[in-house]
């Protein structure tokens, strides 16, 4: 084939794959069951890298993503670099919110983990509500990275005006602030290196006929409050102790989150946002708490994305079967609900005609089962959940780091046989 013919074949493949995904999302029957390749460290391990190497070696990780794409032929690829390749930048920053492979106590070949803690105290609610950006700059960033501690000295600009702006420049020449700024520049340069490798990879994947299935990541307001601000314990106690403040915080986050999320997705030139949820599942909150503190604020975020022409891929962690009747209330054919342990058959029953379902080959099956078990599971999903369209095949939480390659291949191969 000539180079030109090969390019136009890849372009046709790209369009066909994207259409397959879009058909599923918009609840039409695609030609066959679409798939998305989503993994944290599996792709790297598949190509013989350790988790640590995956976080530090941008080029080798790009080679691994390309190989996985060629071997598995997914219809969409969720970016890998953006979710793991930040080891060197974290080193420069002295990052404290994560533990990662080869850093402190963690082994070289385990994934990174988030450290749950109270990053905003109860007494700081008002400060955050008054000036979220000021809080993030002066309090939050210094808490999450050693190199950012001097940012606490930066002027509080809403009250610094006219000639005081000019005078405030003094701060930037203080030795510790100067050092922090220099560190920020180094961190920025490192992140640009990663981004450059990532951009090149995206370009190559597109030329090979693989669309991206994620152009940014966003959050639910309650998750931001619980995961990143108040900590899990703080947020749970605030449901009783600081109800009104928590609700005000959620309102504020409900405006801030889509603003950033929409800008990120648009800047990437895409139309899919990934939203992993951590606190929506059954058992964590009561139905009443979910209806008060979680869903209404999150629903607004979803509607904002949808209004901006962006498809949210919402990852509902855990089992959310009892939430289905509530969460079905979104405009039809605009959202993907990616389920981990939710009853998929019940989900289809409730969400048919409203939401595209994504998932959910169990992590345990991919890590310890056999290809024939995987095939059987996928076929059943296709037969029942894929009926009439509206299904994207994926693993329960994306391909788990420990998945056996033959099981992952079985999952992607099986989808190709699931023809409408």
């Amino acid at each position: 084939m000539t180079t030109q013919a090969a390019a136009s074949a890849s372009a046709a493949l790209y369009e066909r794959r994207l259409k397959r995904l879009t058909d599923a999302i918009e609840l039409r029957e695609p030609d066959r069951l679409p798939t998305i390749l989503f993994s944290h460290f599996w792709v790297a391990r598949y190509c013989g890298m350790t988790c640590r190497e995956a976080m530090y070696d941008y080029e080798r990780l790009a080679v691994a993503v390309r190989k996985a794409a060629i071997d598995l032929e997914p219809d969409g690829i969720q970016p890998v670099h953006a979710s793991i390749a930040f080891g060197p930048t974290m080193d420069i920053l002295g990052y404290k919110q994560l533990e990662w492979p080869g850093h402190k106590g963690l082994a070289e070949d385990v994934g990174f983990q988030y450290l749950d803690a109270e990053y905003m105290t109860t007494t700081e609610y008002e400060e955050y509500l008054l000036d979220p950006t000021g809080f993030m700059l002066h309090k939050y960033l210094p808490r999450v990275a050693a190199a950012l501690e001097p940012l606490s000295e930066l002027p509080q600009y809403p009250g610094v005006l006219h000639t005081r702006i000019i005078q405030s420049m003094e701060v930037y020449a203080r030795p510790e602030v100067r050092q922090a700024l220099e560190t920020l520049i180094r961190a920025g340069e490192e992140m640009q290196k990663m981004r450059a490798v990532q951009s090149r990879l995206f370009q190559e994947l597109a030329e090979m006929g693989f669309p991206l299935a994620g152009h940014g990541t966003s959050h639910a307001p309650f998750d931001v409050a619980a995961d990143y601000l108040r900590g899990s314990k703080g947020a749970m106690l605030d449901l009783f102790r600081n109800k009104e403040k928590l609700l005000s915080l959620m309102d504020r986050l409900g405006s801030l989150i889509p603003r950033t999320g929409i800008a990120t997705v648009k800047a990437a030139g895409g139309n899919m946002v990934f939203i992993p949820l951590h606190w929506g599942l059954d058992g964590f909150m009561s139905p009443k708490q979910f209806a008060t503190f979680f869903w209404p604020q999150f629903q607004k975020v979803l509607l904002n994305f949808i209004d901006a022409g962006i498809y949210p891929h919402v990852f509902w962690e855990g089992d959310c079967t009892s939430r289905l009747d509530v969460i079905k209330d979104v405009p039809p054919g605009k959202c993907v609900y990616f389920f981990e342990r939710t009853n998929m058959f019940k989900a289809k029953e409730v969400l048919r005609g409203a939401v595209c379902i994504r998932g959910n080959v169990p992590a345990s099956m991919l890590a310890t089962g056999t290809p024939s078990e995987v095939r059987e599971y996928c076929k059943k999903l296709f037969d029942v959940v894929g009926d009439g369209g509206g299904l994207i095949l994926d693993a329960g939480v994306g391909v788990p780091d420990e998945a056996k390659p033959e099981n992952v291949r079985a999952m992607f191969d099986c989808a190709k046989e699931c023809v409408y």
Partner: protein
């Protein structure tokens, strides 16, 4: 004063933290027997546990109940003259998040629920090396071991832990339960554990079956 005891029990069970702690303080200040007061708290916790079991309460209620128990316990315990640590427990359970995994929310909730159900729980924390589980089993001779893990890497860490216990000759009289985000029957079989649970109540039910209180 008996009425106050009932009132305290109800305030705790109904999640009225401020009033409950205030009343407990008043009761202790006016000479109420601290042991008896803690008895009311225990009864209240049983109600909370039951409501959790029945799907009326969820994690936030367990968390708040734990906080109330802690505050009231801190006020009452210094006033207790006799040694209360000799209280009989239904059995001993060792619990910990397996090596490589740093998650502890689930483990802490299970620990809390087991404790309010009368079990002595030895919590080894997170990222627990296999050898620490083995030496702790030798030291405490538990009836049950609970292995927790949220990540898929925990499958292998759990398997290794169970194998090491077997090799140390400590498996025979020990029941092992596993729990966490992604465990299921497949993982149970893979790791060689005796059972798995999806929430704290299932952990309590397993322990009740294995070590009746």
């Amino acid at each position: 004063m008996e009425d106050n005891g009932n009132k305290l029990l109800n305030l705790i069970a109904e999640m009225q933290e401020e009033e409950a702690v205030k009343l407990a303080r008043e009761m202790l200040d006016s000479g109420y027997d601290p042991i008896k007061l803690l008895g009311h708290c225990r009864e209240a916790m049983e109600i909370v546990g039951k409501r959790y079991e029945e799907g009326e309460y969820f994690l936030p209620e367990l968390m708040l109940a734990g906080e109330m128990l802690k505050s009231i316990g801190e006020m009452a315990k210094p006033l207790i003259k006799q040694d209360a640590s000799s209280a009989k427990s239904a059995g001993t359970i060792i619990i910990g998040t397996v090596q490589g995994d740093l998650h502890d929310i689930g483990k802490n909730i299970v620990t809390f629920m087991l404790e309010i159900n009368g079990y002595k729980v030895v919590d080894l924390g997170i990222d627990v090396p296999v050898a620490s589980f083995v030496s702790s089993i030798r030291e405490h001779k538990p009836q049950v071991l609970g292995l927790s893990g949220f990540l898929t890497l925990a499958f292998d860490a759990m398997k290794k832990t169970v194998e090491a216990i077997q090799e140390a000759g400590l498996r025979d009289n020990l029941k092992i339960m596993i729990g966490g985000g992604q465990v299921d029957d497949t993982v149970k079989n893979y790791t060689g554990a005796d059972a798995f649970g999806l929430n704290a109540m299932e952990a309590v039910s397993l322990c009740r079956r294995w070590v009746p209180a």
